[in-house]
Amino acid sequence: MKNRCQDSGVRCQLWLSSGRGCGEPAVVDVAPVSRPAHALFALAILAVIALPSHLPAQQSKPWEKIPIPTLHEFHPQQPKRIELKNGIVIFLQEDHELPFVSGSVLIPGGARDVDPSRAGLLGIYQQAWRTSGTANMDGDAMDSLLEAKAAHVETEGGEDSTSLSWDSLKGDADQVFSLAMDLLFHPKFSAEKLQLAQQQEATGIVRRNDDEDGIAEREAAKLVYGANSPYTRQPELATIATVTLADLQAWHDRTLKGKLIVGISGDFDAVAMEAKVRAVFEPLPPVTPEPPRHDEFAGPKPGAYFIDKEDVNQSNVQIVALGIDRHNPDVPAIVIMDEILSGGFGSRLFLKVRTQLGLAYAVGGGFELPYDHPGSFRVEVLTKSVSTVDATKAAEEEIAGLNTRPFTQDELQRAKDDILNSFLFRYDTREKILAERERLEFYGYPADYLETYRAALEKVTLEDVTRVAKEYIHPEKLAVLVVGNSSEIKPPVDALGMGAPQAIDITIPRPPRPKAPPTGEQQ
């Protein structure tokens, strides 16, 4: 009864819970690689008794009579933090519930730091690093050894970092740790594995226009950041072909000099583990901090944009603007505003576009809140072709309504209750707490960020939300991207009143073939 693949067999009631398009994803990233995640920790949390009381007076509410006792005291276990003289930071989180040990090393430097001519390097590197292996043990041998033990050593890469992680049963922990460290410091990049990685990347490139949502998210980001921004630069067949073994080695050597963050959790003894980890990392030279970035963020050119896709009967609409980053002191008020706009079933967008109008299954969005650079404000709605204009207008009205329809005390209370009463799910496991500490360390946030963040959320008032709506929501600055079937979209996107939509060409560039036959189509 195992190994079930139910690709289309499982459908979710609440698409929002996948975390897409929301300022505060419900899902917490375990590995803090680049994406802003929101696992939060706090010290002892006592009772949170908040009864929703924002309903019409005449209804009898039997659920309000059900007692809610004081929440059991909870003292989330913080990892032990060790800062070495060379600047490397180590977190150790004991967890004896299950006989596993897992760890990771987070390394600054990611896709945004790659030279444009090598776009795709990160994707290739993250694969080839692990699959190549080391001089002691090539990747294939490592695979065989590890899989036989149900253990893993893996490498990943993202927007601003790469990482190497490992996990195993407790009995294999020492051996797997050694393997992981060997790979961390002494990879031997192989031409064969470079080629395999290039093939994987190439496959992704030629397929990137097959799925409507992939197109929409990618192109929406390009509208906000620019097509050639470090945050949106996409690999092309021509650029991935230029990546060499020397490039991989150089990338590795440079980034390993950065401030590494090591995190280990599981069934081990912290004293013994600390000694082992110190032995590996203490001898390293002082870390080289990442140079400060000087990116420019202009935001989208307002207006309507269109990408035609013939084989769909539903439009994917992205309404975007430039947003803010998490350092901004207005973040708590903005998060509450986002919750009012699109957090859950009771939110304005969901209520209007899905529940009342029945125009969408998937609708939502808000401010993405990256830790160290401005994110976008992004609202998306997926609707059948013929209701493209209606659904877009309805969503736009809700966005504008943040300024024209005053927030109510009920809305404020609902938003706060939603967020604050489920807050403890950001730190209800030791692994989540560890991941959060690693993330805060990586982005240079104070260790007690979650506490202060929570306290700030509690204090948000109606005036605050009204003020941030005024300051940060500007309908005239929005860009609207529609990906859909032009033959079915009636009335056409022009009916949005944003002028004739600008067509975006997403044709995948094919590099010139070295020996092109005179006839013959290609893929």
Binding site: D7, I66, I68, G204, D211, D311, T429
Partner: protein
């Protein structure tokens, strides 16, 4: 349980179900609750007089709990002509009850009956094969809209979920699969009684408010998940071809013509038939004290109607003896999938299929990866998996591959066949078999520290085997799998006449323009 890991960039999301098992006694540090015995000590099962089964598994790491309500009915139980009904009802289950979500149920009830009557009248005219009057249809449609607007006046939209969310519900969602419907979320532990009232209320006392709006929402969901997604389109056709009789071949989310005609009466009939105690298992995992909680839970969940367990489906897919293939020619990238019929999870060889799947597809050491991706370099991804699409009834063992640029579905097909043939002619190695067993055990162990996953697994196993312990005992079957078993099963199942294949052949743009009528 249905933990969907989106590890593939462009293909299916897998639910690689990690099942819970007897821990490796030697590897255990001994003191911890990882084995069946310790689980038995902290797990309580009670079957209520109405047939509903409650399972409480205590885990006090944090002051939270997760639950799964597992209904033993899914898409496969949609009546003929009403595909999409089970899923539609799942959406309805969030609309509240006679007490929650309404300003005045007595008046609303009357209004909803009028909506239903208006819809019946409209539908009757709409479906007339001859003599349909467009004018009359328009008038009936307006009358329907008016009735709908009237009924809506009594609605407090989304109140049910709002109460859950404002009380700290996390991961609130539901899933309709072919074989079952699951409702789940996590909550702070001090909301246990509130949750019990809410969940038992909506199981016992559903109201089909906002039904027709929600039907539109479900149609959008279909457009998103299937119509506008190349591979899902293909898979829907693949399954419809592989099955000639059994409902596993029918669209899960519903054929557009059927799901767009479902009405509230049908949905409530489905609820009455299937949402009875004997079809329901509710599992709670977390910071719960079973002794003090059980009487309270029993009080609430006794409200679910008793009723006879619905009759079992009699349709059995007849043996396939004709090889079948499906070809979609369109401008999207190529893809290949093939499937072979296999018995249900009750078959004594169930673990053997898992072993084959593991050896063929699990990770970089798997046969399909090593052969198609690494050595031949013709595919970006290649795997075999089973059971698909469901597990309660006889299903398929499927293989798929994503061709590298410049390579074709035909190459995928040939390469996959070669790997399958090896299974039939040569034993797998001892190392491969041992790896399968070790990984299965470890996967199971890993799942034990996740409240939501555990709740789902406990509920599933209680339903499918009548005993949640099978979660652990299943390892015995895993241990018994032999190389000879794998060879025997491969020879039995992977035969040409038992095969259905489906592929996307990429067409250049010029030819596509000549086609009339694309995806519907």
């Amino acid at each position: 349980m249905q933990s969907r890991s989106f590890s593939r960039l462009w293909i299916f999301s897998w639910s690689w179900t990690g099942f819970l098992a007897l821990a490796l006694a030697a590897a255990c540090s001994g003191a911890h609750a990882q084995d069946l015995k310790s689980f038995e000590q902290r797990t309580t099962v009670k079957v209520l007089p109405n047939g509903l089964t409650l399972i409480i598994c205590e885990r006090h790491e944090a002051p939270v709990f997760s639950y799964t309500t597992f209904i033993d009915a899914g898409d496969v139980n949609d009546p003929t002509g009403e595909s999409g009904l089970a899923h539609m009802f799942e959406h309805l289950a969030f609309k509240g009850t006679t007490e929650i979500g309404t300003k005045n149920y007595a008046a609303e009830k009357v209004a909803l009956e009028k909506v239903e009557a208006a819809n019946d009248a409209y539908e009757a005219e709409y479906l007339k094969p001859i003599g349909r009057s467009e004018e009359k249809l328009k008038a009936l449609h307006q009358a329907f809209l008016d009735a709908q607007a009237e009924a809506e006046k009594y609605v407090i939209p989304n109140q049910f979920t709002e109460v859950a969310e404002t009380n700290g519900a996390d991961g609130l969602n539901a899933e309709t699969g072919l074989d079952e419907t699951q409702y789940f979320w996590s909550m702070p532990e001090n909301r246990l009684e509130l949750w019990a009232w809410m969940e038992s209320s909506r199981l016992a006392d559903a109201v089909p408010r906002e039904f027709y709006k929600e039907r539109d929402v479900v149609l959008e969901e279909r457009r998103m998940r299937v119509d506008s997604a190349p591979i899902q389109r293909l898979v829907e056709q693949f399954l419809a071809t592989a099955y000639v009789a059994h409902n596993y071949g029918r669209s899960e989310i519903g054929w557009p013509s059927e799901v767009s005609q479902i009405n509230a009466t049908e949905a409530m009939a489905f609820h009455k038939k299937y949402y009875v105690g004997g079809d329901v298992v509710v599992a709670i995992v977390g910071d719960v004290d079973a002794k003090t909680a059980m009487p309270m839970l029993e009080k609430y969940f006794s409200r679910v109607p008793g009723g006879p367990k619905p009759e079992e489906m009699t349709t059995v897919e007849p043996r396939q003896f004709a090889e079948k293939s499906v070809i979609i020619r369109e401008q999207t990238q190529p893809f290949y999938i093939e499937g072979y019929h296999r018995p249900s999870y009750r078959d004594p060889d169930d673990a053997v299929y898992d072993a084959i799947s593991d050896i063929m597809s699990n990770g970089r050491v798997s046969r399909l990866y090593r052969s198609l991706v690494e050595q031949q370099q013709i595919a970006a991804e290649a795997e075999g998996f089973s059971p698909f699409p469901g597990d309660k009834y006889p299903s398929l063992f499927a293989f798929y591959a994503v061709p590298l640029p410049g390579h074709t579905p035909a190459e995928m097909r040939d390469a996959i066949r070669k790997e399958i043939d090896k299974l039939k002619t040569t034993d797998v190695t001892d190392a491969e078999l041992a790896m399968y067993k070790t990984r299965t055990r470890a996967d199971l162990l890993r799942g034990l520290a996740d409240n939501q996953g555990l709740a789902s697994s406990l509920a599933e196993y209680q339903t499918r085997y009548g005993d949640w312990r099978q979660l652990f005992l299943e390892l015995d079957e895993v241990d018994k799998v032999t190389k000879a078993d794998i060879r025997r099963v491969a020879n039995k199942v992977f035969v040409d006449s038992n095969r259905t294949s489906a592929e996307i052949d990429t067409e250049p743009p010029a030819a596509d323009a000549k086609k009339d009528g694309g995806a519907q």
